[in-house]
Amino acid sequence: MNEALTAETVMMKGHNDDEVEAYLARPDGMEPFGGVVVIHHMPGYDSGSKEISRKFAAHGYAALMPNLYYRDSPGASPDDAAAAARAKGGIPDRQLVGDVAGAAAFLRGLAGSNGKIGVIGYCSGGRQSFLAACSLTLDAAVDCYGGAVVRVPAGAPASMKPLIGLSKQLSCPLLGLFGADDQFPTPAETAELSSALDEFGKAHEFHTFTGAGHAFFSVDRASYRVEAAVEGWQKVWAFFGKHLAGQG
């Protein structure tokens, strides 16, 4: 693996055929490749999330990360855009699903695509990754410490609903990566989700890392936990290697 890649900003069709900005990172000279839709965390379409997208390209996957806040905040800095989205009550679930569907179609259309598409999300994006995998036909999904799947916290926007009831609709294998010290989701909540998925015979593997809480993958935040992050990435590569790599 030479880790050569090309990264750029593109425009894609999202929910309602809206033009949405997205960050595309794809491997050079490693065709055919699987595609990964990256769902950024609540703090937005920031440098850390773009770095994650490039990491997928370095490992042989084309990654596309839609800017979920683009509609209301084109050209804004990621933190301003995130604050504006929060003030409006967040991103509607239906819009998120449409944007992931658009990103998946974009990736399938790339020359060199093997047609397989996965989704991964962090923080609020972890919840949205599960939502997308229950709403669209995908090949693999990764939920990194997504809260509000089993239980929605007090004070959240009224439009936000728990997603555990969608478990029966999960379209693909699910990898869950969680922190044992996280309060949202708690280990008890992820165990409850696992039981629901077992009930419907949905393939999934959950890993809960000791000594880690929420956002342990975020290298530029105090929550970063190197042991959990390194092992977590190994789980991601094994999982996507099984479900997304190779010929279509």
């Binding site: 703090p43 920031d46 905040s73 804004a76 800095s77 933190d79 504006a84 003030a87 809480g213 956002a215």
Partner: protein, 86 residues
């Protein structure tokens, strides 16, 4: 964790953001991940005017202790103001 919870306060006043002074229309107050502060969670306050775009924003990310002290200081300042000013 992402708390998702936000207190919305209608605002009258002005703030100075990256592009200079602007009229405030609302304030968002929430305990959640910071963008810059080195902490898992901070008490974040966004003084904003959505009508002027997302960059019409003055943001602070405070430790919980600082936020509590600030809230008390604001109340104290208002309480000690001469009659007729508030």
């Amino acid at each position: 964790m992402c708390t998702y919870a936000t207190e919305h306060v209608p605002a009258s006043g002005s703030g100075k953001g990256a592009n200079g002074w602007f009229r405030l229309s609302e304030v968002s107050v929430y305990l959640d991940h910071p963008a810059h502060a080195l902490a898992d969670h901070t008490l974040n306050i966004d003084f904003i005017n959505p009508a002027e775009g997302p960059s019409a924003r003055v943001a602070v990310e405070l430790s919980a202790q600082t936020a509590i002290a600030l809230a008390r200081a604001i109340e104290s300042a208002l309480a000690s103001a001469p009659p007729g000013l508030v």
